[in-house]
Symmetry: C2
Subunit: 370 residues, 2 copies
């Protein structure tokens, strides 16, 4: 029924080993023999049996890319970029040579699903795994992740972080590309302060995410430097109380990274502190929701309230007014992560590279009314 390598060998009048060598290309084979084999392959319409190949070689051509939310362009852009470096351009024949199969796994931000996917990838003996986006700061989960990643690395799977801080015990992994979320957050708030804003609301992401924490810490650094920090501890959720991380700063509201959260958190912020003159959102999507809320309250942007985002997603420049935000080179970072996963590029010194975030000043922020 199904054509095997042996069939090809028989038709090309060579041994199975030779066919294997031609197909894998990493071994000298006489040109004439290769021709004959390739013709047999085409004649028979042969397709390699991946599982058999992986079993024998003890490695597969799968590369996993883990994302928190693939419906969010933040991840889509990185994942797509990584895939361009991994899948290879194809040879146009559709025959598929030594390509890797780059696959995107959507964890939905759930720690359990993240681990499950890693197990699934481990089971497949994946060649590499790219983990994108912020991590969850739950100690138990972090330990489980570290253990799982160590096992993967042990089995020869290359590990790359993209837009994610390195693990505490950051051995084993090839490379970590982290975004300068803290610096970007700081510069964004500095910008608002320099415009004259003193009461700045902050719509933060989920409290347990590193991305959320780092951006918020940058924000608070800027406030503190300007003598504006009214939060008791100066940031961080490690209050040792063990209870819910009650954020004492009334100007900060946490929520998921989506539009709806931006809308509702902004209404809440406006209720709590009607005197805010600017709102900083956890990311651009949240900022869009914030803008809608501000407008629905009958206020204008930026005349009555300034609004800023983070990431500089493609739609942000088209917002009205165009959104002031912090640009992250998502495509470049994703592509680099892809190359690292393929071993096409050397890891950065120390295994960690920090990727700069650039402040993009646009129309949504201005001098406060007052």
């Amino acid at each position: 029924m199904t054509v095997t390598l042996a069939d090809v060998a028989a038709r090309a009048r060579v041994s199975p080993a030779t066919v294997s060598r031609v197909l894998n290309g990493n071994y000298p084979v006489a040109a004439s023999t290769r021709e004959r084999v390739l013709r047999a392959v085409d004649d028979l319409d042969y397709v390699l049996n991946g599982p058999a190949s992986s079993l024998a070689a003890a490695t597969s051509d799968l590369v996993g890319i883990l994302v928190n939310d693939i419906a969010d362009p933040f991840f889509g852009i990185m994942a797509g970029a990584a895939q361009t470096q991994i899948g290879g351009p194809g040879d146009g024949s559709g025959r598929a040579g030594g390509e890797k199969l780059a696959v995107i796994c959507n964890t939905g931000g759930s720690p359990e699903r993240e681990l499950t996917y890693l197990t699934l990838l481990q089971r497949q003996r994946a060649a590499a795994v790219v983990l994108t986006g912020g991590a969850v700061e739950n100690p138990a989960h972090q330990a489980a992740m570290a253990a799982k990643l160590a096992k993967l690395a042990d089995a020869g799977t290359r590990i790359v972080f993209c837009g994610r801080p390195p693990l505490p015990e950051g051995d084993a992994l090839v490379a970590a590309l982290t975004f300068d979320n803290r610096g970007g957050g700081r510069r964004l708030t500095e910008h608002l302060i320099s415009l004259g804003h003193r009461r700045i609301g902050y719509v933060a992401g989920p409290p347990e995410r590193t991305t959320t924490r780092h951006r918020l810490e940058g924000h608070r650094e800027a406030l503190r430097a300007a003598g504006l920090d009214d939060s008791p501890a100066g940031g961080g959720t490690a209050d040792g109380s063990g209870g819910p991380a009650a954020d004492d700063d009334r100007l900060v509201v946490h929520g998921p990274y989506d539009r709806r959260s931006g809308y509702e958190a902004t209404l809440e912020l406006l209720r709590r502190a009607p005197d805010v003159t600017a709102i900083v959102a956890a990311n651009d999507t949240v900022a869009l929701g914030a803008c809608a809320a501000v407008r629905d309250q009958g206020m204008r942007i930026p005349q009555d309230i300034s609004v800023a985002g983070f990431d500089d997603l493609p739609f942000s420049v088209d917002a009205v007014p165009a959104l002031t935000t912090v640009r992250l080179p998502l495509f470049e970072a994703g592509a680099r992560a892809g190359r690292l996963a393929m071993g096409k590029e050397n890891p950065p010194p120390g295994g960690i590279a920090t990727i700069a975030a650039e402040l993009m000043i646009r129309g949504s922020t201005a001098t406060p009314r007052d």
Copy 2:
């Protein structure tokens, strides 16, 4: 080095066959034995060898989801939704039971890469493949796709289309979920006509895509019904000339499905026909670019020019003014495709289901100035 099923068997003092039966669950095993085996699995931290398992069973737990552009939320939403139905919620243990590995493959809209991915998936003996988004209408490519899909189906891979028209010879595949792009396009233009618009510009997608063609056909249907069609043939690119499908309608400009194309095509449209009072875009992303172009020309939306999109992506309601568009239930469709791929849901009668598109009238369209 690496723990195998035999190791587990030894530790549990049973035969390898029994361990296999416990793990696959589809065979009677005494409760006490099962317990012992599962404990051994945990003790040894055993992870099934996927390739070996797939080789022996002649089937894998991989499910492929093909998308044109994962950075575009249109695909991200569908793919993410499909994955929720396939990956399973996980059992929270991270141990990964009988889950499938749902993986997203980004073709970048390239026919070659589409075929390559299918070959790769075929090589992996994928359990199912979901193809999302419009197809390319190149006869050679369509034939190649049909042949490839037939082979996949033959090998037991389930095939599902999502937001994609069925193949001409639509056997072999489990199900096709297609969007009513034509109807949606028609109703959108009807809406504009009913507002009083007579000169309507159209920023279309790439001419070779079914999605582009269907939406444009709907548009032209509406024009024709109103006696406004000024295109010679009444739509379609089948002019038999064999040359580039020169679209004689000066009010239609083709381009990729991105923001930049929307911007530039709109400038071109405005140059060609300064008297247009409305612009319909191929999708919401393109519409955003169109809005920017209109504004950059010093015109207001909708007072000077109405703009409409398609898809109703999450950001569209937050555009200013909110974008009139055609809503496609992307999440629901993706989820259903996922269920079909898993065999969790019966295919629609005839294997084809058309999914309705709903007109969303918002602030970006209004009565023309004149």
